[in-house]
Amino acid sequence: MNQPVLEVTDLVTVFEPRGSLLRKAGGPVRAVDGVSLRLARGEMLALVGESGCGKTSTVQTIMRMVSATSGSVVLDGEDITAASHRRMRPLRRRLQIVYQDPYEALDPRFRVRQTLEEPLLIHTKMSRTQRQDAVIAALETVGLTPAETFLERFPHELSGGQRQRVAIAAALILEPDVLIADEPVSMLDVSVRAGILDLLDRLRRERGLAILMITHDLATAARFADRIAVMYLGRIVEEGAAAEVVGQPRHPYTQALLSVVPERDPLRTRAPLLLVGEPPNAANVPPGCRFHPRCPMAEEQCVSVDPALRPLSAHHSAACVLVN
């Protein structure tokens, strides 16, 4: 594998409760509990899991919106885990994010041109005409053409899909190395989702952009990502080539998650593997394997052994004592 552009190693993020009420409710919350990820140029990695599993905390820690408790985040060879704010500033342009809700992510008082110009004003010394050219190029890249007709529009004059394209253009305008896409299509209509996903796919192939996509939708991850990492309660429990994770899931949690993805074809039905109980909360992680209270295959050893993520083949690993 070529040199990763983003390398996350043993990342841990603990939120300490403050105030007496919270302290009563539980101890520190280990939102991210030893996550390692590698992302190469031009690669798309999907981070999949249920709400509360730590996907968003992982991203926030990588982005330095919250501080890591331990572990490291290395961006293109440079350790940014403890970089100062001053040091982070030039690095931020290389690591950009697109959020789930394009209705909230854009400033309603900013015209498209202003939204796209803002990062250039902050991070570059471009002249007015250079900025104008960059804005038009970015709009063309995301498929908003003719770009001139979009420049002076406000967000309320755009459809949901167009807004998300503007948000992507704003993230791309500084030509980042890594794009984090946090549920980039879940707020959009089905008929426009594929267009946004195709755009991300094209950006990574043509520009070598590395994309970390957070999603709860395994069907989308299977179709668009190179690799899938499945997260449960702060840990990655299975990781591998998308086709392998979907085709031969090894961790019982992945198997369960895949079994509940509804089939598009009404004539194809599968018995869903319904897990009992709710995902436990990260303030109260079960001993042993954190999945064992809900695992249909749990054995005695699972109560005490906390399995590490182990390689099963060149492109596939899982954290379960029962698989080898």
Binding site: G160, S191, A219, R223, V261, P262, D265, E278
Partner: protein
């Protein structure tokens, strides 16, 4: 005979200054006892407006024409609707689990519709509430808790129990699992199917999610721009779609076991505050004919129980 029959339903929202939004256009469909019907479409297609019309819950800015017959009575009459709402037709909506009163116990809140809509004694209502909670998989002790002490999935179960409190014949569920995780979604959908089977409850599932409809419903109505595009058995809609919108919507939906590429539908739905000439889908359609842009498509019966509003439907062209 159909339990619920919607005939030529039209809903307009007044926009002020003489403008109006024609949100539902000539919609007709029917629901049989015990049937599970999906009402599918993207945002703005009129599915939620249609269901609000069925429940006579439209805002005062809306005007309505057509008929919604429940056992022969027209629900578009507010007084008639009030007599059936919750008693015969119950509604669970997307954020319903957040609609509980936070300072009252779940069980106590379940009793309320029974006291309001059916004249039952408080004791009987309490026993019935426990029965209902058990039916949806909530223990008696969980029923004594406050809403914030239950997870989203449990609260949505409690909402289902509440919807069943007056033994309705129809359950309308508007995106009931959209805000929930996939595992919880699967649990709730399985529960809804089980309840429909065991109680002979007809289900109208309003959603944008085609795979969910494929797995839960036997029939579906696909809506586009306020009107019916196609309706019929879900297996036929998937395997032999007669309306291009149905076909393209399936093609835009990713599937775990299908390696074909997922394709978006270019363009955007038409504005509903302007009159629509011809077929509303024609500008985005990949097989549009000359007449599609000029004349409204006929509603073609492909087979009994299967209709398509397309000039090409049923091999006509």
């Amino acid at each position: 005979m159909s339990l619920l029959q919607v005939r030529d339903l039209n809903v307009w929202y007044s926009l002020g200054e003489g403008g109006e939004n024609h949100a539902v256009r000539d919609l007709s469909f029917s629901l049989d006892p015990g049937q599970r019907l999906g009402l599918v479409g993207e945002s703005g297609c009129g599915k939620t407006t249609a269901l609000l019309a069925l429940m006579a819950l439209l805002p005062p800015t809306a005007s309505v024409s057509g008929e919604v017959l429940f056992e022969g009575e027209n629900l578009l009459n507010e007084d008639i609707a009030r007599g059936h709402r919750w008693r015969d037709i119950a509604l669970v909506f997307q954020g319903a689990m957040n609609a509980f009163n936070p300072v009252r116990r779940i069980e106590d809140q379940l009793i309320e519709p029974m006291l309001v809509h059916k004249s039952v004694a408080a004791d009987a209502a309490r026993n019935r509430a426990r029965e209902l909670l058990e039916m949806v998989g909530i223990t008696a002790s969980a029923g004594r808790r406050y809403p914030h002490e239950l997870s989203g999935g449990m609260r949505q179960r409690a909402m289902l129990a509440m919807a069943l409190a007056c033994d309705p014949k129809i359950l309308i569920a508007d995106e009931p699992t959209t805000a929930l995780d996939s595992m919880v979604q699967a649990q709730i959908l399985q529960l809804v199917s089980k309840l429909s089977d065991e109680l002979g409850l007809a289900l109208l599932l309003v959603t944008h999610d085609l795979p969910v409809v494929s797995q839960v419903c036997s029939q579906a109505v696909v809506m586009y721009a306020g009107a019916l595009a196609e309706s019929g058995p879900v297996a036929d809609l998937y395997h032999r779609p007669q309306h291009p919108y149905t076909r393209l919507l399936y093609a835009a939906t990713p599937d775990l076991h299908d390696d074909r590429s997922v394709v978006s539908i270019p363009g955007v739905p038409p504005r509903l505050d302007h009159p629509i000439t011809g077929c509303a889908f024609a500008p985005r359609c990949d097989v549009a004919l000359a007449e599609c842009t000029t004349s409204s498509p006929p509603t073609v019966q492909v087979e009994p129980g299967w209709t398509s509003a397309c000039w090409r439907a049923g091999g006509a062209q």
